[in-house]
């Protein structure tokens, strides 16, 4: 597969937006891994809880001591750095579980069809009919606050997208002549799904998953912003924005006076989402065999 690897690498390196996406993603990975170096946590404390650095509830602008400023008595820089870990954790876990769940539901519905398809897809429809954010909020309120509860709520309301996608693709691929050709060579149903159907349908799902990774982090942040997500003081980009809620309009005739409260966590989120979207696009271009010419 040497030729193949070289071809993929060449394709990745010739694309500026691909490079940008990977650079951004690597940057976030580095920040997440080396968080204790960038923002050392106080000893014997949970590093995910942002330490309190001042007793005044007024925000403080950036200074050498607090490069991104202070919000809600807590250091924004510390929150952005450790929030990267939270973002990855939420994004990866929710995406993995919801994609796996969706693959299972979609593959069963698509391949076996008939009653299976009818029942599973109607359940999917019901879940899709409920507005995502409202549903996630209600579920989090029922389950109680906490990051794990947020993740459960988000998984429960995001498996339908991969399920639908994979079902549609399987319905299409199932009719392809190479499936019939494989059957005519004596290949079993199970091998046909595994070797012939899934590899032809999995790419859109993976791409969708990497794009969803970004948007899930936004949703998690939205929940935190609304106060139903991460607990008080938890290092999370949405929680940082929550502190900015009362100060967003500025003050004393200066609309942008407290810009640092929204810009730093906001920028982290935008770049994070952008990174995943660019990487998703790149993966499709590089790996989808159907786009090869």
């Amino acid at each position: 597969m040497n030729r193949e690897t070289r071809r993929i690498l060449r394709r990745l390196l010739s694309n500026t937006s691909a490079i940008l996406g990977f650079v951004l993603l690597i940057f976030f990975v580095v920040v997440a891994i080396f968080a204790p170096l960038f923002a050392p946590p106080p000893p014997n404390k949970d590093p995910y809880i942002m330490p309190i650095v001042t007793w005044s509830s007024n925000p403080l602008p950036p200074s050498p001591e607090h490069p991104f400023g202070v919000a809600g008595k807590r250091d924004i820089f510390y929150g952005v750095v450790w929030g990267t870990r939270t973002a990855f954790r939420v994004g990866i876990i929710v995406t993995l579980i919801s994609t796996a769940l969706g693959l299972l539901v979609g593959a069963v519905a698509g391949y076996f069809g008939k009653l299976w398809d009818e029942v599973l897809m109607r359940i999917t429809d019901i879940f899709m009919a409920i507005p995502f954010l409202v549903a996630a909020m209600v579920l989090t309120t029922i389950l109680g606050a906490g990051l794990d509860k947020v993740m459960i709520a988000m998984t429960a309301f995001s498996w339908m997208y991969p399920a639908r996608l994979i079902r549609g693709n399987i319905l299409q691929i199932k009719e392809e002549q190479f499936v019939l050709a494989a059957k005519a060579l004596g290949v079993s149903d199970f091998s046909i799904i595994l070797r012939h159907v899934l590899p032809n349908t999995i790419f859109p799902v993976l791409i969708q998953a990497s794009m969803r990774m970004g948007s899930l982090v936004i949703t998690a942040a939205a929940l935190s912003f609304l106060g139903v997500g991460a607990p008080q003081g938890y290092a999370d980009w949405g929680a940082l924005l929550n502190y900015a809620r009362n100060w967003m309009l500025g003050g004393q005739g200066e609309a942008l006076k407290y810009w640092y409260m929204t810009v730093f966590p906001g920028a982290a989120m935008v770049l994070f989402v952008l990174a995943w979207n660019l990487v998703g696009d790149t993966l499709r271009d590089a790996f989808d065999p159907r786009l090869r010419l």
Binding site: F178, A181, A182, A184, V187
Partner: protein, 335 residues
């Protein structure tokens, strides 16, 4: 030496499909023919006459809307319809193989040509990968693909249409099947490539002593390849005979119409004998002879089922008025 007992025998095969309203669609209704070792027969008919369904039924690959409702498919004394799905899977690819019309969609785009050929070899011959790879390379060489070793690692999109069809044939023949079903193998290819592929099939058939069932609507292909011809119309066999019998003194008006609807350079023709109308709706086949609403010879007698008659040695016809087919020479297909 050819044996006298046929290699494959299809007896009174019935394949029905069912619509959502539970209507019965008799796509194949009592088809019988046989195939001897090393022989090529052609299954000829218009689109929708049931020839592809027949071939899929031989491999038991009719999809879930259809059902084989009767008949026997006997391969060397074993009735394939009585086998379990697992036993049937062993037959497919090892004893009976099939090649398809569209080589571009019959190869899986995500695997290399080599991987796909090896799949069948590993499955049926239980060879370890390195040996399977050698066998795959050998198969590609057999079908005349140059630089076979290099081609093993190429993806289907890197091959031309003719090369893809050769690769398909290599895949189908990798386990040396006794029967090859070729479903319009050249329809989607250039004329020059068509000839090469047909020649290749003929040569390999000779070398591997296979029986070939050629499914086609192209009578030119039939004339060049088949020893015997089976003409199908609306799910039934209407005439069967040697190539010579069919081309020189066919007895069924439908066969006659098919042959005379081809433009010819060697004789002067005023106009082509076009068979009027189209194949009847399979949900609503005419009673008696299914060709009667398009046949210039039809009368009251045709409201009853014709008999399957042997008019000459090994030449069968399914028509009440076979003796009058000569009339068409002067009358043409005008009613």
């Amino acid at each position: 030496m050819k044996e006298n007992t046929p290699l494959l025998q299809v007896q009174d095969l019935k394949v029905y499909f069912y619509t959502e309203e539970k209507e019965e669609l008799r796509a194949v209704d009592g088809v019988s023919f046989y195939l001897k070792e090393g022989e090529t027969i052609a299954l000829v008919g218009e689109s929708g006459c049931g020839k592809s369904v027949t071939s899929l039924a031989i491999l038991r690959l009719i999809d879930s809307d259809g059902k084989i409702q009767g008949g026997k498919i006997i391969l060397r004394g074993r009735d394939l319809l009585s086998l379990s799905e697992k036993e049937m899977r062993e037959i497919r690819g090892r004893d009976i193989s099939m090649i398809f019309q569209e080589p571009s969609s019959a190869l899986n785009p995500v695997y290399t040509v080599g991987d796909q050929i090896m799949e069948a070899i590993i499955l049926h011959q239980k060879l370890p990968r390195p040996q399977a790879r050698k066998a795959a390379e050998e198969a590609l060489r057999l079908v005349g693909i140059p630089e076979a070793r290099k081609r093993l690692d190429e993806y289907p999109h890197e091959l031309s249409g003719g090369m893809k069809q050769r690769a398909m044939i290599a895949m189908a023949l990798s386990c040396h099947p006794k029967v090859l079903i070729a479903d319009e193998p050249t329809t989607s290819l250039d004329v020059t490539i068509q000839a090469q592929i047909l020649e290749l099939i003929a040569e390999l058939q000779h070398r591997l002593n296979m029986g070939v069932i050629l499914i086609t609507h192209d009578l030119g292909v039939v004339a060049g390849m088949a020893e015997r011809v089976v003409i199908m119309y609306a799910g039934k066999v209407v005439e069967e005979g040697s190539r010579w019998d069919i081309f020189h003194h066919s007895f069924h008006p439908y066969t006659w119409g098919l042959l005379h609807s081809i433009p010819r350079l060697d004789i002067k023709q005023e106009k082509l004998a076009i068979i009027p109308g189209a194949v009847p709706d399979p949900l609503n086949f005419p009673s008696g002879c299914r060709f009667r609403n398009r046949c210039p010879l039809a009368d009251e007698l045709c409201l009853t089922e014709p008999q399957w008659r042997e008019i000459e040695s090994q030449h069968y016809v399914y028509c009440h008025h076979y003796s009058q087919v000569e009339v068409l020479k002067t009358r043409g297909f005008e009613r």
